[in-house]
């Protein structure tokens, strides 16, 4: 069955059969091999650069999740490209969150990590600005806050209007007025460009 992008997608129903016959075994192996390739590609495209070394492990986790899901759905799961990417994304974000929660520290303390942050003063300064922006965003009227947040995250007016289910003109106004409110609030708190 072709997926939404026109790609042929296997159902892999053979994998979930209670008894895998000898004839179907080779087909299943081929499909799993193809699945691994597709998942690895998806994980690599999702994985941030600093996590790239873990891409193989994450691919393995993603494949396991998909196979588990196939078993629970008795093979009726359609492996669309979107589903593979969604699973890859989910595995990568879980890993990022896990690392951030644990604050993993390398055993070898002599290892020097290259950081994108210039220095502690700048780091503290950017944190203050971010806190101020977040604080002022929280004070905005909800509709404007949502529009401004999406705008600052790089969404177009069309996407904002779709996500908020409003007209384009309304989304545009919400962004403009919200940004104005945000600037006033930041100025009041002594934060400016």
């Amino acid at each position: 069955m072709p997926d939404a992008l026109g790609r042929r997608v296997p159902s892999l129903s053979v994998l979930s059969a209670e008894s895998v016959t000898a004839d179907s075994t080779s087909t299943a192996d081929l499909e799993i091999a193809q699945l691994r390739i597709d998942v690895a590609r998806a994980v690599r495209s999702v994985c941030p650069r600093w996590l790239a070394e873990q891409a193989d492990d994450l691919s393995q986790i993603a494949v396991s999740r998909i196979l588990d899901r196939l078993r629970t759905t008795e093979g009726q799961l359609e492996l669309s490209r979107g589903y593979l990417y969604r699973t890859a994304y989910s595995v990568v974000i879980d890993e990022i969150r896990r690392r951030r929660r644990r604050r993993e520290i390398a055993m070898d303390s002599d290892v020097v990590f290259q950081s994108n942050e210039a220095n502690p003063e700048r780091h503290t300064f950017s944190r203050e600005v971010r806190d101020a922006v977040a604080g002022c965003l929280r004070r905005l009227v909800a509709s404007r806050r949502r529009a401004v947040t999406l705008h600052l995250l790089g969404h177009s007016v069309r996407e904002i209007s779709a996500l908020l289910e409003c007209r384009s003109k309304q989304a545009e106004n919400l962004v403009y007025r919200g940004l104005n409110d945000l600037r006033v609030c930041l100025t009041r708190h002594g934060v400016h460009q």
Binding site: S45, G82, R86, Y89, S90, I93, I96, R97, R100, R101, R103, I105, S109, V112, F113, S115, N116, E117, A118, N119, P120, E121, T124, S126, R127, V129, R130, V133, A134, L137, R138, A142, R145, H151, L152, L153, G154, S156, R158, E159, A162, L163, L164, E165, R167, S168, K169, Q170, E172, N173, Y176, L179, N180, L182, R183, V184, T187, R188, G190, Q193
Partner: protein, 350 residues
């Protein structure tokens, strides 16, 4: 229309600020699952669920990062009601449809049927377009100082009046000026660093002698400020024959040492105009790390009279909690001014 609102230059920093800090962001306990974030972008969630996640984004740097990653990878779905956002297209399509129906009706109507137009007047076919709201942003409210700010202004004014009174009191004894370098008010106490320049006659020649004092003030029960102590004169030691360039390099070296040793007072000696906010930020950055090694290389110094600009390359090795070491390279622009006591840093640019 599908117009994209590009970030104005004045807003680009806001976007950068919102996205920053993700590297250090702790996920919160109520962060939505990755699947829900993905589905929200794909518009597979209900509007309420979507809004809940968008509301969460503005206060969670970790989810901001996750959202942006998903938005980069997940193709934004074609809008199911794309025509909804384009009123002109909708009206045009309706008009074409009506004309086509009209022509069809005129050509194929049954014989003997009475013309509808002869029975009743034709209604207005199309609704008028909704009046577009005013796109001008509302005028910014007049910003009046808060009661706390007003009190701070009043305190600062009272202390400066006190210093001026002191200046007038002793002016009769000689010619001198006082510059208030730094005034910090902390509740009912305050400190001020003043720079005093006395013009004295030594063997018939007028010479300027400079000294700095730190005055401490206290607010009495009646609300007036009094001087409670003053540090002894601190003559500023500047080698007389030092060139401007080497003096600036010496100041940069002190700045480097001040950061490495986390010495705020030393830092202030070369950057006397440190505001309270800047000082708090400096202390916070010192507290956030275990240690720091700074290597500053001066790339260029441009001296123009009593001002100068130094472009420096800076290499930091930061030792964070857990003995993790991070290195970071950056370039800075330091602005200097030649004061009576020598060269000082007036601005630390990035």
């Amino acid at each position: 229309m599908n117009r994209v609102l590009e970030h104005e230059p004045r807003d680009a920093w806001l976007a950068a600020a919102l996205r920053s800090q993700a590297e250090h962001a702790h996920p919160q306990t109520d962060c939505p699952s990755p699947e829900r974030i993905w589905d929200a972008i794909q518009q597979r969630l209900s509007l309420d669920d979507r809004l809940e996640i968008i509301d969460h984004l503005s206060g969670c740097a970790a989810c901001t990062e996750a959202w942006q990653l998903a938005a980069r990878i997940a193709p934004f779905p074609p809008r199911s009601s794309a025509i909804y956002g384009n009123r002109a297209l909708l009206i045009g399509a309706a008009a074409v449809l009506l004309v086509a129906l009209g022509i069809g009706f005129m050509v194929f109507r049954p014989a003997g049927q009475q013309d509808a137009a002869s029975i009743e007047p034709s209604p207005t076919a199309l609704p008028t377009a909704q009046q577009s709201p005013n796109t001008l942003p509302p005028p910014a409210p007049t910003r009046l100082p808060t009661p706390v700010q007003r009190a701070a202004f009043a305190d600062a004014g009272a202390i400066r009046d006190l210093i001026t009174a002191y200046e007038r009191l002793i002016e009769a004894k000689g010619e001198f000026f006082i510059d208030v370098e730094n005034l910090r008010i902390n509740g009912r106490t305050a400190t001020a660093t003043i720079r005093r320049r006395d013009t004295v006659l030594i063997q018939g020649e007028r010479q300027v002698q400079t000294s700095t004092h730190e005055l401490r003030f206290e607010k009495t029960g009646t609300g007036s400020w009094v001087v409670v102590s003053a540090t002894p004169d601190k003559p500023l030691s500047t080698p007389a024959d030092e060139s401007d360039e080497s003096a600036i390099q010496r100041v940069i070296a002190i700045y480097e040492t001040a950061i490495e040793t986390k010495d705020v007072e030393l830092f202030r000696s070369v950057r006397p105009g440190l505001s309270a906010v800047e000082e708090a930020r400096l202390r916070a950055s010192f507290d956030a790390i275990v240690g720091q090694q700074v290597t500053i290389t001066v790339d260029d110094i441009q001296i123009d009279g009593t001002t100068a600009i130094a472009r420096v390359s800076r290499q930091d090795v930061i030792i964070t909690v857990g003995e993790r070491r991070q290195s970071a390279s950056s370039r800075q622009i330091l602005r200097f001014e030649k004061s009576a006591s020598g060269w000082i840093i007036t601005e630390i640019g990035r």
